[in-house]
């Protein structure tokens, strides 16, 4: 923190590196932002946040919102993973801009986070996670965030990652569709190292309950906020949901 002028980390997609004046301006901005964050949360917590690394798996309604919340809070390293591109149908709840339509979500969200929180170190993988690549791609991060939409993919990631990395925490989302009350959305510790956030019930794919067939930004955001907040609590050493 005190040595931000000597900070030579690679800040991802920042394209300002060619102009020395802009580099200095950017370094000063990062320093000012980190000083501001330290003023709000204190050095001890900020150091924990800056030293933390989180893999965000799935960059849709949950993951795009979670990643931005983590970056704003000061989480130092984010690994963004998705196989999809920004689509018009995403705009009702996902943190993308219309001028990003068609972009890889990994690249679009990296650009956005660089604009919001240039102190965040970002790595990306434009890939679909499966049983084979999870143990390889997620080995470096302290905490894994499950932010997929299909329940089979959620179960695959949770099971594969908990088996491969028994010491890592996974924070997952389940149940945030429809127009039901946001007061039903909660965080529960469901397995030794697994927290689940959501109402645990509303299934967007359940054709017998058409009232849950839509995803509404204000409700997906509530579940995303639960996931992001549990991750932040784990980083500062709080294990209670």
């Amino acid at each position: 923190m005190d040595n931000f002028m000597n900070d030579n980390r690679d800040f991802g997609n920042n394209k300002l590196g060619v102009n020395p004046g802009m580099v200095l301006k950017n370094v000063l901005l990062k320093g000012d932002m980190l000083a501001s964050l330290e003023g709000r949360v204190g050095k001890e917590k900020l150091d924990k946040l800056l030293n933390a690394s989180v893999a965000v798996c799935g960059l849709g309604g949950l993951g795009s919102n979670i990643a931005i919340a983590l970056a704003r809070a000061g989480v130092g390293k984010l690994h963004l993973i998705d196989f999809d591109r920004v689509d018009i149908s995403n705009m009702n709840r996902q943190q993308y801009f219309t001028d990003q339509l068609g972009m890889e979500k990994t690249e679009a969200l990296s650009d956005t986070i660089n604009r919001i929180a240039p102190y965040t170190e970002i790595t990306t993988d434009f890939v679909r996670l499966d049983e084979k690549n999870v143990p390889v791609l997620l080995k470096d991060e302290d905490i894994i965030c499950e932010a997929f939409d299909r329940p089979e993919a959620k179960a695959m990631l949770v099971e594969t990652a908990l088996k491969a990395f028994p010491d890592k925490y996974i924070v997952s989302g389940s149940g945030m569709s429809g127009f039901g009350s946001n007061n039903l959305i909660k965080t529960e510790r469901r397995l030794s190292k697994l927290y689940v956030c959501g109402d645990m019930e509303s299934d967007v794919f359940d054709e017998s309950k058409p009232e849950n067939s839509s995803l509404v930004s204000s409700r997906v955001l509530a579940a995303a906020a639960h996931e992001a907040h549990m991750i932040i609590r784990l980083i500062i050493g709080e294990e209670e949901p």
């Binding site: 959620k154 099971e159 908990l162 149940g175 697994l194 509303s202 995803l215």
Partner: protein, 64 residues
């Protein structure tokens, strides 16, 4: 007896697939932990529950 999500069942000797079927879970949508260790889908048919095992089953729903 086997404890599953806090409830007691006479399931000793059953495998994980049989347990999930009897309790009406969808095997591809769950994660299962027995005595604080993950049991993967590839192990469901061979993993036999024992008396006094403690099982947690989490079933996921869609949306994100």
């Amino acid at each position: 007896m086997v404890k599953i999500n806090g409830e007691m069942y006479d399931f000793a000797g059953k495998n994980i697939t049989e347990m999930l079927t009897e309790l009406d879970y969808n095997p591809v949508r769950v994660a299962v932990e027995v005595n604080f260790s993950i049991v993967t889908k590839a192990e469901y048919n061979d993993y036999k529950l024992k008396d006094e095992d403690s099982v947690e089953v989490v079933q996921f729903v869609g949306g994100g």
